[in-house]
Symmetry: C2
């Protein structure tokens, strides 16, 4: 089973307490793909500028990522610059140049329209809805968003949520979306908006929570001494999560739980280095080993 992802492709300039990376490969669609492709074929839809160096993503092609939906427009590729603080949950955006991404109208190639598994990465909810209108009958739609759309395009976002099965948020977004401080209450309240079957809340260094038909499941973050660069953690998490589900082909609670652990495991590798420096060479053997380590971290 393959997965379709629609999201950003970017050049990121990142400063963290451990160093910096200039104009390095980034973007939600690519982080998702690098992770999901460890489990199943991935079809990407996105846009880059004429300055994009396609050779940089050859590692994705080798892993079964299909880039037929990667449109090249005249102009520059989306660029984002950010600085992370010692408390890695806090970051400043230094600049955002949308460039060709500003006029992005996702057109799903005909051969992708039968997609069973769809990941709508964090883009304008209006575009996310346009994507869904082009997909025939998806088995599972997973949605990511951010506070910018929660406060700025709430009505449209609520409309998109109605068509999604799984909503992925971080803890702050869940609190904002529900206007509740208690995260458990926030999760229950958010799950009544548009009624997604499943809600996932990412809590950074505190791990992640799955809420599915009234049941909670918690996974800790893998204990890392050094988080070198948190960029892409959420998207690689989503990639590991949905990739595992697509590979498994069912939506049972047991599958969702394992998927959450695989998502956490991939994300933990991703943050161990800048850009794709870690995910690029990640093997399924190393990933499975870390997946098993999570058992020792949680089982009693």
């Amino acid at each position: 089973m393959s997965v379709l992802v629609v999201g950003s492709i970017a050049y990121d300039t990142v400063e963290t307490p451990y160093g910096n990376a200039d104009d390095s490969l980034g973007g939600s669609a690519l982080y998702f793909s690098a992770a999901a492709s460890l489990f199943c074929p991935v079809n990407v839809v996105g846009v880059v500028g004429s300055d994009f160096d396609a050779s940089k993503i050859s590692f994705l092609k080798k892993r079964g990522v299909n880039l037929d939906g990667l449109y090249v427009e005249s102009g520059s590729t989306f660029r984002w610059g950010g600085r992370y603080h010692k408390d890695l949950n806090k970051r400043d955006t230094l600049f955002t140049y949308l460039n060709v991404f500003e006029s992005f109208q996702p057109k799903i190639p005909v051969q992708y329209r039968n997609a069973d598994y769809v990941f709508l990465a964090n883009i304008d909810p209006t575009l996310q809805l346009q994507v869904l209108e082009q997909i025939k009958k998806p088995k599972l739609v997973v949605l990511d968003t951010m506070n910018f759309w929660i406060s700025g395009k709430r009505a449209m976002l609520d409309e998109v949520v109605k068509h999604c099965d799984i909503l992925i948020l971080n803890d702050e977004e869940a609190r904002e979306l529900s206007d509740e401080q208690n995260l458990i209450t926030a999760i229950k309240k958010v799950s009544s908006i548009g009624k997604p079957k499943t809600l996932i809340v990412k809590k950074g260094e505190h791990g992640a929570v799955l809420y599915h038909k009234g049941a909670f499941f918690f996974v800790p973050a893998y204990p890392l001494d050094k988080v070198i660069d948190p960029t892409g953690a959420g998207d690689s998490f989503a990639g590991g999560f949905l990739g595992y589900i697509a590979k498994t082909g069912n939506l049972r609670l047991g599958t969702l739980k394992k998927a959450l652990v695989y998502g956490s495991a991939v994300a933990s590798f991703n943050v161990e280095d800048f850009s794709f420096d870690k995910l690029k060479a990640l093997t399924n053997e190393a990933l499975d080993e870390r997946f098993n380590e999570f058992k020792a971290l949680t089982r009693f």
Copy 2:
């Protein structure tokens, strides 16, 4: 096997977003005892004023808490007043009247001095050391402390840690004690101070972490919609933790993990109501049921 606890006995005045309790029973020694007595006999050492109403703690006696070490001094019982915010991790201390607790010199009754399991609740490290000097050959000493002593009596605190096996902190205290923002690095660094065998870090709504001989173990907080009153959460957690260990009688990693879950389970009941309103009537059946719920919350 019995447990010895030395700590405070207080009347608390608490305001939370859900209501308030005036001059209600509190104090680290009592919260610890109420929890630990679900597993084994508990011996308490502490001080109260002549205004203390002993009938209020008869529920503890019925559960096997021995109060021979409860000294009654002329004067008033220790009083603390606090206000919790919507974000329950933040609280303001409204007043602290040490009263008879100000001149507390813990004298361990002769019949307690063979104690195998000792909990040094959060009191002045100088007093904690005095307690240890009176205990013959404890099998396990568990230490709690707070930022006030970390910043104010660091040298003495380090000295106490040297004589302890398990150190319990919250995440902020671990960061302060280690001067590290990354909690994993902080934990490793703290565990090299005085070399306690085991370190436990409480993370409030994010659960708790155990670090033992290089291995991590994580338990989430039980998902509660309403945390009515967080007072005593840490001490009831410690009581459940050490009570289970004392009952089990060994210090294997598997025992420590289960103890961490029992501590989390008791604490989750405690915060469901003010003062001892929940712990008072808590049964082992209800506790075991919640313990088992933690399996569903974490197992994959």
